[in-house]
Symmetry: C2
Subunit: 506 residues, 2 copies
């Protein structure tokens, strides 16, 4: 593939976006399907991304006073049932534990034994089990706020799964807080949404729209769900993080009461907020190109790969020593609070080597051959530029400028994604134009959808529901930043109450 006429990923995004997504993940060895229905194996290159996301979010959470804790993976059925809307929302996708051992039956086959008196559900989310702890921890306003986060695996049994985007098991964090007043809980709900937005934009280079969900799209049991929405390259929306104001619903369900400063008994006000390995799916879809993924440097599994070029055995020692010493120099440097991660790939596999790293999305590839060493220079390829567009640079200059180059790549990725979203965001005031825009037959390419349509909406669920049934398009959010006063509803023509963003969604 050294002299390569076609793209590294087949099919291309334009040819078949969903299949491109699968092939990109395969080529980058981020993850793979497992033999367990709907569950994935996150391979080291993908898990390192997750570790970086965890570290950044965890630091941000802690800076707001949140502490980590851990709660049981199992939720008794009776707990899940405590909040009616909640159990309704999750009952259809629960992994249920019914037995606690295995036994040989008469035919010699191993079968479940030791039935449980009460079935346990593998947590799809932990409001009810954490609520139970809160009810024991809180008795006075002096115990508030409680600010807890949990890093955990959760299970939601999905019938149609896609790596990272929708898997039966996924990794996430779930924050849970309890407050003395509704105002304080609402402030926390917004604060955590801001954390997610900052994470997405500053680290994942993923521009997001912040807003509120409509009633139909809210978390089961929430009074208000805030979200960040990003546009993927097929112009669909990806919900990249949600923050819920739960009012006193879960406090009532779990009996989380406290004595106020005025010595009155009241229920606490709670919030919950989560982000998951789905973010990695977003990363792939927002930055990937027809040669593979592109990792934003601030979150990349590794920053630089050094590719020593040895054509004669006589050169080997010199080239390897030069490479090792450059790696050592680079690893001394800190980029956004972590050391530069530098890989050395000295495999003798020809041009396939460079292509592997392109497909894996590493920000910088550095070739080092005898001629480069003679000039004390290196030959650099940037993942945000065409693969042939490499340049020679004095080694010391490269070492001095590597952080600037990485930041340039980071900014390029963000700017591209933002420009793409702008290009594909339209304002539509008229019902016919709206249906036209979202009718699949009117799209140029299969599975590539219209984009974000900013419209006025009447605020009625029935109207939203009709559009969903007709076009499989939903209101992604009511953006905090309203671009203008609402006109007439794009669905029913009645007076609009707010401006909303319609889109197809993951």
């Amino acid at each position: 593939m050294t002299d390569k006429a076609q793209t590294a990923i087949q099919p291309t995004r334009a040819e078949d976006y969903p299949e491109w997504y699968q092939q990109v993940i395969k080529a980058s060895v981020l993850a793979e399907r497992s033999p367990v229905r709907g569950c994935m194996v996150i391979r080291p290159w993908g898990y390192a991304l997750w570790e970086n996301i965890v570290r950044v979010l965890d630091d941000m959470f802690k800076a707001t006073g949140v502490k980590n804790a851990y709660f049981p993976v199992f939720i008794p059925l009776s707990f899940l049932e405590k909040e009616a809307a909640h159990v309704e929302g999750f009952a259809k996708e629960c992994a249920v534990v019914t037995h606690h051992r295995l036994e040989k039956n008469d035919a010699g086959a191993l079968v479940p034994a030791g039935p449980l008196t009460e079935p346990l559900v593998v947590r799809p989310t932990s409001e009810t089990i954490i609520g139970d702890s809160f009810s024991k921890w809180v008795s006075s306003y002096r115990d508030l706020p409680v600010l807890i986060n949990q890093w955990a695996n959760v299970v939601r049994w999905e019938m149609r799964t896609r790596l990272f985007l929708r898997t039966s098991e996924f990794l996430w964090q779930e924050g849970h807080t309890a407050h003395a007043t509704a105002e304080e809980a609402l402030e926390r709900t917004r604060m955590m949404l801001d954390v997610y937005a900052r994470m997405s934009e500053e680290y994942l280079a993923m521009p997001v729209v912040k807003g509120a969900k409509t009633e139909a799209e809210r978390f089961p049991g929430a009074v208000e769900t805030l979200c960040i929405e990003a546009m993927m390259q097929d112009r669909k929306a990806l919900q990249a993080g949600t923050s819920h104001f739960l009012g006193q619903n879960f406090a009532r369900a779990s009996e989380i009461k406290f004595q106020t400063a005025d010595e009155v008994e009241d229920y606490v006000w709670t919030t919950s907020w989560g982000a998951s390995t789905r973010l990695i799916g977003g990363l792939i879809m927002i930055h990937g190109d027809d040669d593979g993924i592109l990792l934003p440097p601030r979150i990349a599994s590794a920053h630089v790969v050094l590719l020593p070029i040895v054509r004669k055995d006589a050169d080997r020692q010199r080239v390897m020593e030069y490479t090792e010493s450059l790696a050592a120099e680079l690893r001394e440097k800190f980029y956004h609070h972590r050391r530069l991660v530098v890989e050395i790939d000295s495999r003798d596999i020809g041009g396939a080597r460079g292509w592997e790293w392109i497909k894996k999305g590493i920000p910088l590839r550095v070739e080092i051959g005898p001629r480069d060493i003679a000039q004390n220079s290196v030959y650099v390829g940037r993942r945000d530029r065409a693969h042939r567009d490499k340049f020679s640079i004095p080694k010391d200059q490269f070492v001095a400028q590597v952080m600037d180059i990485l930041d340039e790549i980071q900014q390029t990725l963000f700017a591209r994604a933002l420009a793409f979203r702008k290009e594909n965001t339209v304002t539509i005031e008229d019902n016919a134009a709206f249906y036209d825009f979202f009718t699949p037959q009117n799209q140029q390419k299969p599975e590539i959808h219209g984009g974000f349509a900013v419209c006025s909406w009447c605020g009625q669920s029935a109207c939203e529901q009709k559009i969903k049934e007709d076009l499989a398009v939903t209101i992604r959010c009511i953006p905090f930043e309203q671009d203008r006063d609402p006109g007439t509803c794009v669905g029913c023509g009645k007076p609009g109450t707010q401006r909303v963003i319609f889109a197809k969604a993951y």
Copy 2:
């Protein structure tokens, strides 16, 4: 409790060691029982300990070339069955998922629905599911070694549980590696045991004996199990980490084959190694005293608590400003690769405040009142000394010496634990003396056991089994460091083949 005649924890260790353990955990708010059978809630003060253990181990693993990944929480029954000894070892304690949704029955009750065609077991350990991935990743000697670690929750259904020591769900890491030769796999098995030993001794201040398990005590399916064993204050042994050489057993079970450099097809050689939240149970039992837990500074949830003393409102602002500024100064410092964690506790609850922190085991308590400020000094209590034994020290000197003081505490804890182990380790060559030593009626205190008995052993499982049945005492390990040539077996009197350590165990 300011003027306190009795200990902070009731009962004391001498009075009732198991109950002391429960009370110490309660008083320190490390963790609590959950409403889910056998599962615990790890509270923030306990989880911070775990986070520190994770960080230290993770860095050590990565320094040896290991990378993190993530595998499904569910294991198909057919996978577990692939290795006979393995399934035998875990069948009795498995949480089994049999359904994938919940449905209302005719009576309106929510019941499991959607039966699975094959039951799934919540992972008790992941050899078989990870082996399946390895079989796809490895085809040539060039793909080896594979060095993977996973941080995860695991479930082993326990009938009798104790917080941290034995819970149905616990957090752990499990390392899994595959190699081209037995020698290399054995070297890895020993290398990871050394990592655990270093973690235990240098960070947890927990002296350990390194050795090999006898056949009866091996991991189900392992060829060799290496372990580290520590002595708790009731003189029982705690296994603090294990590293298994699995030979080709799991490679055969999962069909992990490779082409050798000589172009012959062979099975790989695998290892696995794990350490868990059990380490926290060990920490509590090895360092705790009758006033609560003592956290070794290198792993402590926090290092210093500042306790501003405000007796008059007029003093408040001055005292708080001084406290905040001291906290800021201390937080600039790094202690063993992380910033000093400094808490400020300004609650006005009298002497109970200091006692709470003693029970929580924070290494240093610093009182700051108007008189201290006038002298520009602070009043310091060290957790490794009696609670009254506090000293005044110029503030700047405290700031300059705080790391030395912390290291002194760290060393004191280790030295105490080592001295305790030496005092309670005996050499026994004679069967009668051995039975005498381990007969409960001969102990001075209930639940306090003899200690470690170093003895010669014939190497026969039957002999080991008889002792276990008679005395509930087992061979904890065959220490790598053999103190002398074996004499006659302490059990049967036949010629010994090795020196071993007998003890009661957790």
